[in-house]
Amino acid sequence: MSARLLEVRDLRTHFFNRGTVAKAVDGVSFHVDAGEMLALVGESGCGKSVTAYSLLRLIADPPGKIVGGEILFEGHDLMKLSDDEMRRLRGDRIAMIFQDPMSSLNPVFTIGAQIAESVLVHRGGTKAAALSRAVELLDLVGIPDSRRRIDEYPHRLSGGMRQRAVIAMALACEPKLLIADEPTTALDVTIQAQVLALISELKQRLGMGVIMITHDLGVVAQHAQRVAVMYAGKIVEQAAVADLFSRPLHPYTKGLLASIPRQGASGGRLNEIPGMVPSLLAMPRGCSFAPRCPKAVDRCTHHVPSLADISPLHPVSCFVAQQEAKL
């Protein structure tokens, strides 16, 4: 079997501050294949973004540090690369799109110059050649009148156009893996759909693997092939999209799915998961979801469940779900 595009094993990223340790990512494992979109879902603060930043080794140190795990990209462990080797990989083989297009672009450079910079850093060549590549990329992401737009400064573009420019920047060197960290949260609903469709289409056309970080399960259902649900720094359930939506196993996943407002179900309160995500500094001893879990049994508050396949390719870390599956 050939090596996976990306395989993450037992990734642990902790933040150290005045003697306290926040285990933002605590033993996360997953993989992404070429041409596939993996959605990483979970509430704010569950470690989705820290996972993404860790993959590119962009965690500010101090206070953060990747304390363990392997990040195998095309079979090579990124943790073993030198800083300069890692830098050459960033934006070339692995690219990232960020949450807020309003702050992702440097205000003092034209978008053409910022896209061309990616090309120049990794491919070299003349500035003119890089700028004409920038025009191609703007065409690719559907910015009209690209030849004139490359001379625009970011503040003259709308949010949707800026995010397209950011995507163009990420695609400059045709990356194998694209990490999208909530790329649509800051955008209008209509623009959201366009940007997501664009990413899906480019994924198909360029055969990229995509990690889509989101808290929007609608996005997951429409665009992703597989889903990993994160809670408090751990992946609690992983499955193919259809499988997860039809047969969620972890009580947290069930809660998330139940809290999606449904059309036609008028009146009454929306479903919610009671309680709050525990602080990373005060994690419960057992399963981190146990205090909010409607099904928690005595064992859950004392032992940490591990991620185990219940059915093929559908691992869940929940004692109760694992028990029910055995019966």
């Binding site: 960033r90 070339d92 992702s104 003092v108």
Partner: protein, 325 residues
Amino acid sequence: MPPTLRFLLRRLGQAIPIILGIAIFNFFLLHMAPGDAVDVLAGEAGGATPEYVAQLKAKFGLDQPMHVQLGKFLWNVATLNLGFSFRHNMPVVDLILARLPATLLLMICAIVLAFSAGLVLGVTAARNLNKAPDRIISVMALLAYATPIFWIGLMLILLFSVKLGWLPSSGMETIGGDLSGAARIWDVARHLVLPAVTLALFFMALYTRLMRASMLEVYGLDYVTVARAKGVGERGIAYRHVLRNALLPMITMLGLQVGSLLGGSVLVETVFGWPGLGRLAFESVFQRDYNLLLGILLLSSALVVLVNLLIDLLYARLDPRIEVA
């Protein structure tokens, strides 16, 4: 008309009432001080008869009511005639023009030195946050910031002129040197080093601290992380992405400080015997030479207004979000 030209004309139009307002304010401020030029002259002469004093006052126009004096002064300002210094027995314009080059030379050298050194030190400190270079630079900046200018000047004279004998301690040229060409430039440059460094040190400290803080702030912004994710190296991040954005507060500060730089040059020119406007202003306060003092103050205010206009133009060039209109 191009927008930049229209902007310039409008701002110059606005500058006139500002400068006039400052002139009127200065006029009243000086007349609130006790004594006038005649009192000082009489005092220095060791006494004078009341008739002589009255005669002098009439000659200088000091016997007239305040509003007449103000009217005359404003008329002079409007016609760019700065009046006559009875003390120096010369027109104020000639006096100022004779001293202006020395002060401009000192100020420009000091500001260029302070700005560029502050920039380099601030960037170095920010790039080595909490490491040895940052700590050394920060402590030095704090020291330079906290030490009085005149004391630094005296200590530098003590070290480089008295002890080491490397540099001249005062004046702008070797007296009776009668040099010309390159030899004269070299002579002036040697005289310039100590006063320029002294004047620059305080501002250098200020710019270093500002630049460091400004760089650190920009380092925390999203687009810097985006640039890192693009694979830009740390050098490119610092000098391309962060520096350009961090410069904006520095430029603002530069405009605000032209005024205090003039104030600082009074001290430095006095300590180093530099024949500039600052010392002339300082002396004219004690001699109650109001015509001269008002002339210098008028020129200073015009200079500050003009520099700030240039700063605004520069700002628009550095930050595309700002447009001159």
